[in-house]
């Protein structure tokens, strides 16, 4: 690994961790279901960025790109299904607040 690649890793990794912290904090603190999805998206973007950077540093761009493509496609379906569930919850409870989902409460 040459020095420039190490520099790239040093620059990118703190930002990736910052993105993960933002996403986790948002998911943990918010009560709105749509906002939770937005937080999950931020975490996924951090993961994608990390994979691309490590692929670049290790000179394995083809593998990194194929992994990222697979992640993106699965991410879309996760978001689509989650959005469908949220719309259903809204139709049943009249709100998108997680505190109002009490159907399974013992």
């Amino acid at each position: 690994m040459n020095i420039s690649n190490m520099d790239i890793l040093k620059i990118f990794i703190p930002f990736v961790v910052m993105l993960i912290i933002i996403g986790f904090y948002y998911v943990l603190m918010t009560k709105n279901l749509i906002r939770i999805l937005l937080g999950l998206e931020i975490i996924t973007k951090a993961a994608i960025l990390a994979i691309i950077v490590v692929g670049y540093v290790t000179n394995n761009m083809a593998l990194a790109q194929s992994l990222v493509i697979i992640i993106i496609i699965i991410e879309v379906f996760v978001i689509a299904v989650a959005a469908g569930v949220i719309i259903h919850i809204y139709k049943n409870t009249g709100s998108v607040d997680v505190r109002n989902i009490r159907n399974l409460r013992g």
Binding site: M1, M6, I8, L9, K10, I11, I13, P14, F15, V17, M18, L19, I22, G23, Y25, Y26, M29, I34, R35, L37, L38, E41, I42, K45, I48, L49, I52, V53, G55, Y56, N59, N60, M61, A62, L63, A64, Q65, S66, L67, V68, I69, I70, I72, I73, E75, V76, F77, V78, I79, A80, V81, A83, G84, V85, I86, I87, H88, Y90, K91, V96
Partner: protein, 162 residues
């Protein structure tokens, strides 16, 4: 290198905009901006195919899904918006400080590590990697797509009955 640093800072700012946005719509658009920043970074890091996917799907399709979902949900009234804004500021006021501190600490702590992968994965053509080396991933992806389609169909079918 300075351009990459500026792009990364804009990336963090747009991610913080998602958190601090009072309206969901602004949050969804900020998320699209985050995707665009990641796309530019991907182009800078020699991965154009993944960048095109990121731009068209994450900045395009996912934003559309979010906006559709938001349009189904009743918007907050002005009073609720002011109240939730106050609560949000209280909750997230320490987040930028926490993020900056974590970034600084990691940039100080991080040390050189060897990331050499086995030679067998050193394939330069993305087509060969996707269709030959990662066949199991594609199978899993197809199964997830099928489950997703079934899930969406079932969800919207029951919605129509009611």
């Amino acid at each position: 290198m300075s351009i990459i640093l500026i792009l990364l800072i804009i990336l963090i700012v747009t991610a913080l905009m998602v958190v601090f946005s009072s309206k969901l719509l602004i949050g969804a658009i900020s998320l699209a901006l985050t995707s665009i920043m990641i796309t530019i970074l991907m182009f800078k890091l020699n991965s154009p195919i993944a960048a095109v996917f990121e731009l068209s799907i994450c900045a395009g399709l996912i934003t559309v899904i979010f906006i559709t979902t938001i349009s189904f949900v009743k918007p907050e009234t002005q009073e609720e918006l002011i109240e939730s804004n106050k609560r949000r500021l209280k909750k997230y006021i320490y987040l930028p400080v926490l993020v900056a501190l974590a970034g600084y600490l990691i940039s100080v702590v991080i040390k050189p590590i060897s990331l050499k992968l086995p030679e067998i994965i050193q394939e330069t053509n993305i087509r060969n990697v996707l269709w030959d080396l990662r066949q199991v991933d594609l199978l899993g992806q197809a199964i997830v797509l099928l489950i997703g389609v079934f899930g969406i169909v079932v969800l919207f079918k029951e919605g129509q009955k009611k």
